[in-house]
Amino acid sequence: MNVVVCVKQIPDPGGAGRLDPTTLALVRDGVEVVLDPGDEVGVEAALQIAEATGGEVTVVSMGPERGIDAIRKALAMGAHRAVLVSDPRLAGSDALATSRVLAAAIGRTGCELVVAGTESTDGYTGTVPSAIAELLDWPALTFATAITVEGPVVRIQRQTEVGHDIVEAPLPVVVTVTGGANEPRYPSLRGIMAARSKPVARPSLEELGIDPATVGGEGAQQRVLAATPAAERAAGEIVADDGGGARRIVDYLATLKVI
């Protein structure tokens, strides 16, 4: 089965992220960028499904031209081709506009299964995959920790507080995978060389049938009004064991409702 995986290039989450004080958007220029680690899990999941079912993987991404590096990494991991929608008019797009563009690009691939991370590690809206599903009018299976495809049915496991749910939907479907769903493979060195010659389509907004007025900063329906720094994480509490240490830790965990 042929699978689409959505990926995004983001500022290295290991680095110190900075917001542009006027636009309140994350600064993406002049910083180290990587394929979103959450998307590596998506690529791995897509590759596993394609390998198990004898299909191919198409990577779909929207972003500036240098997002090609993230795409190349996914191709080096084993994906077969890519679609990069890159247009200056897309700068400043909100989650809905992004979803529209991606849905249009996915629609052209003819694939019936889309895999995405649950949320990007930079923007964290977590809305794009569901919006894509809505725009395509497909069901969405979210927060998968495992995926199986049996004939026309996709079945996922979703972690709950007490165990896991098994949820299924008929194709076509959008699936989001959680960070721990699998262990993403290293791109093979041969794969890195092969990625050079894998096809990367670059459809224009016009080809995708997207009205430029509905995307970019102008078309955004969502505005970031203010940003405040997150509170410093408080220092942990050290429990010295004077005989009652275990009890106090148990009580503490109980207040967190983890036990």
């Binding site: 190349r72 990494k73 080096a76 290293y186 791109p187 093979s188 041969r190 890195i192």
Partner: protein, 399 residues
Amino acid sequence: MDFELSPEQAAIQKTARAFADEVVAPQAAGSDLRSEFPIEVVRQMGRLGFFGLPFPEAIGGVGAGFLAYLLALEEVSRADAAVGITLEAAVSLGIAPLATFGTPDQQSRLLPDLLAGRALWAFGLTEPEAGSDAGGTRTRAARDGDAWVINGEKSFITNAGTELSRGVTLTARTGEPGAGGPPRISALLVERGTSGYEVGPPYRKLGWHASDTRPLVFHDCRVPASNLLGAEGGGFRQFLSVLEGGRVAIAALSVGVAQACLDAALGHARERRQFGRPIARFQMVQAKLADMATQIELARLMVWRAGALIEAGRPAGRFAAMAKLHASEVATACANQAVQIHGGAGFIEDLPVARLYRDVKINEIGEGTSEVQRLVIASHLLGHGGSVTALLEEGPPAR
């Protein structure tokens, strides 16, 4: 001039770095302590394509070029020099001669497994009586009908006795010196398991504990005539050309170890407090760190320079020797200072610096000692084209 890596080189460096940090580094201390060859790491490197990096796709390689191989080797060696030398010996000494001089038949028989890291091939040049003077080879191969019969002994052979070790390219005399000429030395492929091929026990070493080093003994060991690698009598020139790439690779390995020394020293200097402040605030420590960083940068540029020449197929002799000489001496100096910056903790095996210190010295010895590199460079300077024998026999040209 442009020191930027190509997108593929950068991606290979990144992948090698991630692999080195996540897979190679965590096992380094344990494998060293147990003197255990990390076979699973080697297999995984094989599957990822590390062993095929510099070789053309036409013979089954990855086709990434010699520089990409050097970048990967530096990263792996930064995490564990013993894994670094396993890769270096397999690629530069094991596969490279086959890839360069092998017949299509020899290549199709051996390369698929070697390029995939499913098997390792060794290179046997050094002998009990022939080290720096590699032309002094005593091992003999006598022609007997359709076979060569080998007798002799090789010392200090890397990757000679692991579970993956499949055989060795050895140098042997196949003819006696003519009037005043050198002996005819040829290279022969010998597969492990051939009768008369004896793999000795591993040496106990100062460092590189997780790398496999053993003597090999050949006693009436018969190999088919078709196992001759390259031209009969061409062995000497061939291994000189092999050593050129190998020297740059050892230099890259040295840069990796030196970088590990700097990283460890920086970390410790920031954290360790004495006299009420981090020791990184003391100028004497800062000067050590600055000198290490400067020397490493210089060594790395020399590696890239020599590597670029090799990748372009241009003569690299003196640059390869200079890179090997400088990088290996810098690495030893960096290990020395890294231990110094760690104080007593640097002498204790709980931290990696003690291992770095033990692992680093060999870089000034293997694949041509620092003295031999200086001879090679002097030979170039004095008009002997890099030949040590010519330099020693003829001396500096009269003015």
